[in-house]
C-alpha cells in the first residue's frame, strides 16, 4: 500500500526555489525529519546529478528524486513537494513542479508505491492534476485514489 510509504505530513507545497539544489534539499526535508534518511542522502544525490545530469527527471513536471539505499536510507518512504514556480535541473531538462522524493531500502521493496506512481508519470493529465493541486490533502487523495483504481 502506498499509505505505508506516504504520510500526509510528508507532502508540502512551496512557492518556489532559488535553484535545483534547494529543490533537492526541500524535497528531502520530510524524509530527514521523519528519520527515514540521513543527511548524506542529499549530498549523494547532488553529487550524482553533477556527474550524470538530472537522472530523476522522468517527464515534464515530474521528478523522482532518489539515491541509492547505501547513500543513507534508513527506512523506505516517500515525500512530495509541489513547487508553484517550476525549477529546471539543467539547461536541457524539463521544468518541474512535482518532486517526489523516494527513499528505497532495496531495488524492489517499493514496488507497490512505484506501481501507483507509474500511473501518474506515464500520464500527462495526471501529472498536471497533481501539479495544480490546491493543498497537501488533495495530493494525498490523488495518490490514494490512483492506488484504488489500480486494484479494481
Amino acid at each position: 500500500m502506498i499509505a505505508d510509504m506516504l504520510k500526509l505530513k510528508n507532502i508540502h507545497i512551496v512557492e518556489g526555489v532559488n535553484d535545483w539544489e534547494e529543490a533537492i534539499h526541500l524535497s528531502l526535508v520530510p524524509l530527514v525529519e521523519g528519520g527515514f534518511i540521513t543527511d548524506n542522502y542529499e549530498k549523494a544525490i547532488i553529487k550524482t546529478t553533477k556527474e550524470y545530469g538530472p537522472y530523476y527527471v522522468l517527464a515534464e513536471d515530474f521528478a523522482l528524486i532518489h539515491g541509492r539505499p547505501t547513500d543513507g536510507v534508513l527506512e523506505k518512504q516517500l515525500s512530495i513537494t509541489l513547487l508553484r514556480r517550476p525549477v529546471k535541473f539543467a539547461d536541457d531538462s524539463y521544468p518541474v513542479r512535482v518532486l517526489i522524493a523516494l527513499a528505497a531500502s532495496d531495488s524492489n521493496s517499493h514496488v507497490d508505491a512505484m506501481r501507483v506512481l507509474s500511473t501518474i508519470f506515464m500520464d500527462e493529465d495526471k501529472i498536471n492534476e497533481l501539479a495544480q493541486a490546491v493543498d497537501s490533502k488533495q495530493i494525498y487523495d490523488l495518490l490514494i485514489t490512483a492506488e484504488s483504481n489500480l486494484q479494481e
Partner: protein, 96 residues
Amino acid sequence: MLKILAVCGNGLGSSFACQMTTEAILKELGVEAKMDHIDISSVAGQNADLIISGKNFEKQFERITLNCPAIFLERLVDKNEIREKLIPVLKEMGVL
C-alpha cells in the same frame, strides 16, 4: 521467455519507472516478457535479450560488451518513444 533489462545509474528509481512503462507497452503489443531493473555497474555479465536505458548512459555502455541489442531513450517513461523504438527491435528479433 524474452528477458528485458531496464538500466539506470542506481537501478531502483528511473530504471524501475522505465520498466513499468515498457511493461505497459509490451502488454499493449501482446508480447510476453520478463523484465527487471538494474544499475549500470551490474549490467555486464547479465543474460538478457534486450536492454533499455537512457540516452545519458549510452557512452557508458560503449565500454561494456553486450551480447544483445540495446535501446536508448530520451525519456524513460515516454510511452510513444518506447513504442517507436521497441517495435522495430522486437520485429527484428522475430517476436512481433
